[in-house]
């Protein structure tokens, strides 16, 4: 039993977890369950990230997605008090079948590419926060970073403006 095997096992465990939770999320009619399922997916994904040797992104994944975004989702769900989806009588069935068919086609297409592809494995891989930060702040990405800060600000204002009750009524 070696470290690599250990990691591999963990990888498959978390991968399966993510996959299963994702399926649950899509299959589930109750949006709140879907939300929790998605959270499980995200957390196990972050574990996968960690196993793929990028602890920084793994942490960020949980902080941003699980910690912020999904809480927002849950808030909205509770605020709007969303009920379970009622099954629509008949109509839309064809559409969904077509959609699933195309989804399968997607899997087929990209899967064929991926299966055929033989990814390499670089040695001496170091994705520590320090390295990522260097790349982020010492290259052209700095401007993108600043731009994203502006984006965040804009979305902040936009979200407030949108969700604010209009005072008139």
């Amino acid at each position: 039993m070696s470290i690599a095997l250990f990691q591999a096992i963990l990888f498959y465990v978390f991968g399966a977890l993510a996959l299963g939770a994702a399926l649950v999320m899509v299959a589930q009619r109750n949006p709140t369950y879907s939300a929790f399922a998605l959270i499980v997916t995200l957390v196990s994904l972050s574990a996968v990230f960690g196993l793929l040797g990028s602890p920084f992104i793994a942490a960020l994944q949980i902080i941003v997605y699980a910690g912020a975004i999904m809480v927002l989702f849950l808030f909205v769900l509770m605020l709007l008090n969303v009920r379970t989806e009622v099954r629509a009588p008949g109509e839309g069935r064809v559409f969904k079948l077509v959609a699933i068919g195309f989804g399968a086609l997607l899997v087929g297409e990209i899967g064929s590419v991926l299966v055929a592809a033989r990814p390499a494995l670089a040695g001496g891989f170091d994705a520590s926060a320090r390295q990522v930060a260097r790349l982020l702040f010492e290259t052209q990405y700095l401007y993108v970073f600043e731009a994203t800060s502006i984006l965040i600000l804009a979305s902040l204002v936009g979200a407030i403006a949108l969700a604010k009750r209009d005072p008139s009524p």
Binding site: F95, E109, A116, Y143
Partner: protein, 760 residues
């Protein structure tokens, strides 16, 4: 490079300390105006001031490269303080204190500027005699691929002169404003703007590369907008502000494009490198619109906007809506000369392109003439000065255009003195007349405003070229260098001479209408007239002295040799224009005439100036009734001048309402009479209708059948097809997001499918 970035952060850190408190100290220094003093024990304040100022001085001494930054940042600091705490200060009843704080910052920068210039002069001169330092803030401002802009200033012979002018005149005008604005409730805001303007102007002149210069450029534009519209409740003021802003934008487009092209051309925007790269290029021939010419002309467009040259001169006269000190500082002394500064700064570049030089000279001359002629008849005292400014700026560009950069900058400096003096004087007059600006309601103020009168007189003499004051020397210099280039030089010289005469005339017209004769104002104006407070008179006196002495700095060589007065100014600034002057001989290939001619020209300019003065005296002192008669006899010309050549109206018609209405009418007329012309009966001719008539009578009948069955048939068929297909397609656009998403997915799959063919 003298500056080393290694100790920059440290010193950049401590330059704040002295700056932060020196103004407060100054506040206490002058700070006992009748209105209010500083709260708290003055002794404590004074002591802290002394200590901190000493500490700051020591630090600046030990890190001399931070001094220019201190010069820059002091006014900014003043602005910040006033902008953040201004209202609080005012509500504390310390408004006057705030004003003095503003003055303090600028005065301190002035002191530092003097120190800097002194230091620059200590540097070992380069082979050209150029002494410069490039203080470096220690970081790169923009680093985008090859486009790198350092955060560095440039202090050399030229910019140090400019800094002296800006801070010197600026501080005087600050002090003046304390008196002038003392009754204004918003004066704190006013002073914060004034400080901000000073900061940007200093950035403009000190900026070590075009982008920094551009920041200052835009900044002063902004401040000018803010200050013109300072009394924004008055619609005319607000409109004038907007006008200035917009017109300047037109110029700025040129400046930006020019910068971009310049970067493509030289691969750098650093001023020093620009000049050194420029010298390596070969000059273009006349009327060859190569890259250099294009760059120069684009930059010159920017200069036109900022320095109010034809065709962008229209904003400057309206800018007089702002407070008079603002007109003095921004629209006479500093900002409007930015264009001249830039052209002179890039003289090496311009001198490579005869085309650009010619354009500059021609535009300058034209503007000079235009401004002078309009100024002849204006009756609003500030309008006269405004147009005089326009024409003097034209003079400066004329100088640059004929390659006399040093003379142009010299004119710039002296003009800053006496034009600021004149504006402040007029401000004092207006102040005394309680807001009256029309000279027809003035007169006989000589006794009432003794100091204003004396100083104004000095200003008038200085601007009308009377030796040995400034005006005479630079006019002689510029005209001579215009004449000696040969070619079109003499014509320019003639124009310049005429302008000189007109200048002398309208200045003394202003003088006489204002100060001599009898008082023509209303009664309560009469007994209300009073000499301005000390704070306003003092700057006038200082500026007057400056106007008298400044001229002696730049005595033309020919006179200097006789009188043994060296041309200090030219010798000091010469190195900056070395590169330009080297290139000039290829541009102006005329053998310089003999010195006797120069003497003659000088004599001519003196005599014609004297003539102008005498004429003004005759018309407005001896026979005040004559001008009216002249005006009526030459009514059309008079109206033309009085209405400023209708330029505003033309712009209004062409650009504002133009294409909507004026153009529309024309087009309509053309359309109706030329295109449509002649419909067989009424208007015979070969317009559309003529042809139409022919067609209607002959061709149409035949084609009708074809038309109805074949053409319409096809059209209807197509229509039918689309009509039916629409029923199919509209179901695609059913507003259901998911359906759209599906179609999106399908397309993506299609694309992936194609792409994967290549991968596999």
């Amino acid at each position: 490079m003298v500056a080393h970035s290694n100790h920059e952060p440290a010193s950049g850190h401590d330059e704040g300390a002295p700056a932060a408190h020196a103004p407060a100290g100054h506040g206490t220094g002058h700070g006992h105006p009748p209105e209010a003093g500083f709260a708290g024990s003055p002794w404590v304040v004074l002591l802290t001031f002394i200590l901190l100022f000493g500490a700051g001085g020591w630090l600046l001494r030990s890190f001399p490269d931070t001094v220019p930054f201190a010069i820059l940042l002091l006014p900014l600091l003043g602005f910040t303080v006033l902008a953040l705490f201004g209202d609080a200060i005012r509500d504390q009843g310390e408004g006057a204190g705030a004003c003095w704080l503003a003055c303090g910052t600028v005065l301190t920068s002035f002191a530092l500027a003097v120190a800097t210039v002194y230091r620059v002069m200590q540097f070992p001169a380069g082979d050209t005699g150029l002494r410069f330092t490039q203080p470096y803030l220690g970081f790169e401002w923009i680093a985008a691929g090859p486009f790198r802009v350092q955060m560095n200033l440039l202090v050399d012979n030229l910019s140090s002169v400019m800094v002296l002018v800006v801070t010197g005149v600026g501080s005087l005008i600050h002090i003046y404003s304390v008196g002038y604005m003392s009754h204004d409730p918003d004066r704190v805001r006013y002073f914060s703007y004034l400080n901000l303007f000073t900061f940007f102007m200093l950035l403009l002149v000190l900026g070590g590369n075009l982008p920094l210069l551009f920041v200052g450029w835009e900044g002063v534009g902004l401040c000018s907008y803010l200050l013109i519209g300072f009394w924004f409740t008055k619609k005319s003021a607000a409109d004038a502000g907007k006008k200035a802003f917009i017109v300047n934008r037109i110029g700025d487009v040129g400046l930006i494009l020019g910068m971009i092209l310049a970067f493509n051309l030289f691969g750098t925007l650093d001023l020093v490198d620009l000049v050194s790269n420029a010298t390596s290029l070969t000059e273009e021939s006349l009327w060859q619109f190569g890259p250099i010419t294009t760059v120069c002309l684009l930059l010159f467009l920017g200069a036109c906007g900022k320095s109010a040259q034809i065709p962008l001169h229209v904003w400057l006269p309206d800018a007089m809506e702002g407070p008079t000190p603002v007109s003095a500082l921004i629209h006479a002394a500093t900002m409007v000369t930015a264009g001249v500064y830039m052209v002179a700064r890039l003289g090496a570049l311009y001198s490579l392109s005869p085309t650009a030089m010619t354009v500059v000279a021609v535009i300058g001359t034209a503007t000079a003439v235009l401004g002078a002629t309009i100024a002849l008849v204006q009756t609003d005292i500030k309008k006269v000065l405004a147009y005089s400014t326009v024409s003097q700026l034209g003079y400066m560009f004329l100088a640059c255009g004929v390659g006399a950069f040093a003379a142009g900058v010299f004119h710039l400096m002296t003009h800053a003195f006496f034009k600021a003096l004149l504006f402040l004087g007029s401000g004092s007059v207006i102040h005394a007349m309680s807001g009256e600006q029309d000279m027809r309601n003035m007169g006989g103020l000589r006794s009432k405003l003794p100091w204003t009168h004396r100083t104004m007189l000095v200003g008038c003499i200085a601007i009308a070229s009377v030796p040995p004051l400034a005006g005479f020397f630079w006019k002689a210099e510029i005209l001579w260098s215009a004449y000696k280039i040969g070619g079109w030089g003499p014509y320019v010289w003639g124009m310049g001479l005429a302008v000189a005469a007109m200048t002398a005339f309208y200045m003394f017209r202003l003088y006489h209408m204002t100060f001599s004769g009898t008082f023509r104002g209303t009664e309560e104006q009469a007994h209300h007239v009073h000499e301005s407070p000390r704070t306003m008179v003092l700057p006038l006196q200082v500026l007057a002295v400056g106007s008298i002495l400044a001229g002696l700095l730049g005595v033309p060589a020919i006179l200097g040799d006789v009188l043994h007065i060296p041309n200090v100014f030219e010798r000091f600034t010469e190195p900056v224009f070395e590169a330009a002057h080297e290139a000039l001989p290829q541009v102006f290939t005329a053998a310089p005439p003999a010195h006797t001619i120069e003497m003659a020209l000088m004599a001519a300019s003196v005599t014609i100036a004297a003539f102008g003065i005498a004429l003004a005296w005759q018309l407005f002192q001896r026979h005040p009734e004559v001008p009216a008669r002249i005006a009526s006899s030459a009514a059309p010309v008079y109206r033309l001048l009085l209405d400023k050549y209708y330029v505003d109206e033309i712009y209004q018609a062409v650009f504002v309402r133009g294409l909507a209405l004026g153009g529309g009418k024309t087009l309509h007329a053309v359309d109706r009479y030329v295109v449509d012309g002649g419909d067989g009966e009424v208007r015979p001719g070969l317009g559309v209708n003529g042809i139409g008539w022919f067609v209607r009578e002959v061709v149409a009948k035949g084609s009708d059948v074809w038309d109805r069955y074949v053409v319409d048939g096809l059209v209807n068929l197509t229509a039918a097809i689309f009509d039916n297909m629409s029923y199919v397609f509209r179901s695609l656009q059913n507003g259901l997001v998911q359906h759209y998403a599906l179609s999106m997915l399908i397309i993506i799959l299609f694309m992936i499918g194609i792409g994967s063919r290549f991968i596999l």
